[in-house]
């Protein structure tokens, strides 16, 4: 097993380097022939993608192209009908979602699904606990875990939320909740981070903040983003894949994709 469970506090060497000098070969995330239908309606059809370690990948496509379904398949929220998902070269297709999280896969959601009656600090603590063995401890009060608290506060500081740390999630703004999502994903020290429309519903300033937030994430983390806002998204991406009706229509660099006639057709109706 090259991917042993992570130590609660330590960082982790990325798989690319684990594999003794073959970093250029092992993709951080590799999807092969992934398919899923709902009641006979195909949502994702034979998608194959390779995402290199440290890459910023943008997934484009009109509504219903299967982008979020693809994320759900990668994280194991839903089972694929066929196809393989590899994380750092390891086949994770049959692992349950929490095991995939332990192997370094984190995500944010398009619709906010946080713990709304709890504080921001508690939300973040849960995220830290999720990848720590102490999540099974039934007797030690969580309030005495100063180490978790400090790490949670540091993360909140990093995304500029430390002054609202003790506030209930339901009493914070939408933009703050979006930033908390990012902090919770980062708390897991992921090697691959899936971002589902992180800019959706944000104001102009909040977008700028979010953009800065994302650009500060180190290159050890590979990122895949679904986004409709091309202004912010294009500047983020190294490579782009365009999904259409559940299939990869075009894949390539920014210029290649923007120049592609089929993409123009979908987006401009030309």
């Amino acid at each position: 097993m090259t991917d042993g469970p992570r130590l609660p506090d330590g960082g982790r060497v990325t798989a690319g380097r684990d594999a003794a000098g073959t970093s250029a070969v092992t993709a951080a995330l590799e999807i092969e022939g992934l398919s899923k239908s709902f009641g006979g309606l195909p949502a994702v059809r034979g998608v194959t993608l390779q995402i290199a370690p440290g890459e910023r990948r943008l997934l484009l496509g009109p509504n219903g192209a299967g982008k979020t379904t693809l994320f759900n398949l990668i994280t194991g929220d839903i089972h694929a009908d066929s196809g393989i998902v590899r994380l750092g070269g390891r086949d994770i297709s049959r692992l349950r979602p929490h095991r995939r999280a332990h192997l370094g896969l984190a995500r944010t959601y398009q619709v906010i699904t946080l713990f709304s009656s709890d504080t921001l600090l508690h939300n973040l603590t849960l995220s830290l606990l999720g990848v720590s063995a102490s999540r099974w401890n039934p007797l030690l009060p969580l309030s005495r875990r100063d180490d978790l608290r400090e790490r949670a506060l540091a993360l909140l500081e990093r995304v500029g939320l430390s002054q609202v740390a003790e506030r209930k999630l339901s009493e914070t703004s939408y933009g703050e909740q979006r930033r908390l999502e990012i902090a919770m994903a980062l708390a897991q020290e992921p090697r691959v981070l899936l971002l589902d429309e992180p800019f959706a519903g944000l104001s102009r300033e909040e977008r700028r903040d979010m953009q800065q937030e994302l650009s500060r994430i180190p290159r050890e983390v590979t990122m895949v983003m679904i986004e409709h806002d091309l202004d912010v998204a294009l500047s983020f991406a190294d490579r782009i894949a365009v999904l259409h009706q559940g299939q990869v229509l075009v894949e390539g660099t920014r210029t290649e994709v923007v120049a592609d006639a089929r993409v123009q057709e979908i987006y401009l109706g030309a």
Binding site: H98, A101, Y109, F115, L126, S134, N137, P138, L139, K168
Partner: protein
């Protein structure tokens, strides 16, 4: 200051029955404690796990039957019999858990109800072992280390000790990382999974732990009544304990205890005047669910916050 006064009052209320001379009230206090342990255990599922069980009586009943059977029919000594009974009922939960936890929400409620009925059916029909409708009797309270527990006062003290242990354990559990995970499973199971929690195993562990404390309550129940019949496994009994949890306030520490006080008192007071406990139970059930769904303890806490004008503290607990 106020808190210390409240604590002193609570202690006085708990200790009083051990000293006061009226056997009738001491016995009721004992009943309350046993019911409270039972309700606290169910609250782990209902309040913290969001899993509404209508078959929790199965574990109290299984353990009560087991301890009486093992001592009176199998000739086992009291203490090992009690331990075996608890292990037996907990093991039963370990078997039932995977079936019940194929579903959550309504499905869980219906499957636990059905599983509870199986236990009732076994007790009722398997006459050679369970004595059928007549149940098992001829059981006496134990005399651990030469202490005589046959007096109401001595038995009250035992029940109080066990209650203290269960309350402390559950209080620790709900504030622990595991407890945080359990509440997370209730609120956002999908998100919690994505964060690395094994939601199924958390629910399963909670199910087995809840059954363990129900089994402990079952042993006390058997000691107290010195008799067991299929009624302990009836749907009425599972509904009664669910009512305690909901009436007191699911997902709070003190709610189930308050609920146990209310239901046990109601039952004893009502039986002095009317014989229609089941009808009363039904009426209270409907009234509570329709008019006071959040339960007594959270309701009172909200009133108090309003009257003192204090800012609502961020509450991590809540149904």
């Amino acid at each position: 200051m106020k808190r210390a006064a409240l604590l002193a009052l609570a202690l006085a209320v708990l200790v009083a029955p051990a000293i006061l001379p009226w056997d009738f009230y001491v016995n009721i206090a004992t009943q309350v404690l046993i019911a409270a342990i039972f309700a606290l255990s169910l609250n782990l599922l209902v309040g913290y796990g969001g899993l509404i069980s209508l078959g929790h009586g199965a574990f109290l009943g299984a353990s009560a039957y087991a301890v009486i059977f093992l001592t009176t029919r199998a000739g086992m000594a009291q203490l090992p019999a009690a331990a075996c009974a608890v292990v037996f009922a907990t093991f039963l939960a370990a078997l039932f858990g995977p079936i019940a936890l194929r579903a959550s929400g309504l499905g869980f409620l219906m499957i636990t109800l059905a599983l509870g009925q199986i236990m009732w059916g076994v007790a009722y029909r398997w006459v050679e072992v369970t004595g059928g409708d007549n149940g098992l009797s001829g059981f006496t309270r134990p005399q651990p280390f030469g202490l005589d527990l046959s007096s109401p006062h001595a038995f009250y003290v035992l029940a109080l000790l066990v209650f203290g242990c269960s309350f402390a354990f559950i209080a620790l559990l709900v504030h622990s990382p595991f407890g945080a995970g359990l509440r997370g499973v209730r609120d956002q199971p999908r998100r919690l999974r994505a964060l690395g929690f094994d939601t199924w195993l958390i629910r399963y562990a909670a199910f087995v732990i809840a059954a363990f404390w129900a089994a402990v309550a079952g042993v006390l129940w058997a000691y107290y009544n010195q008799f067991v019949s299929p009624h302990v496994l009836s749907l009425t009994n599972s509904a009664e304990v669910l009512l305690m949890v909901i009436a007191g306030g699911a997902g709070t520490l003190f709610g189930p205890v308050a609920g146990a006080v209310i239901v046990v008192l109601l039952k004893n007071v009502a039986s002095a005047y009317v014989t229609r406990w089941m009808m009363l139970l039904g009426i209270v059930f409907v009234v509570i669910v329709v008019f006071m769904p959040e339960g007594l303890v959270p309701g009172l806490a909200r009133l108090r916050r309003r009257s003192t004008g204090g800012v609502a503290r961020p509450r991590t607990e809540g149904a």
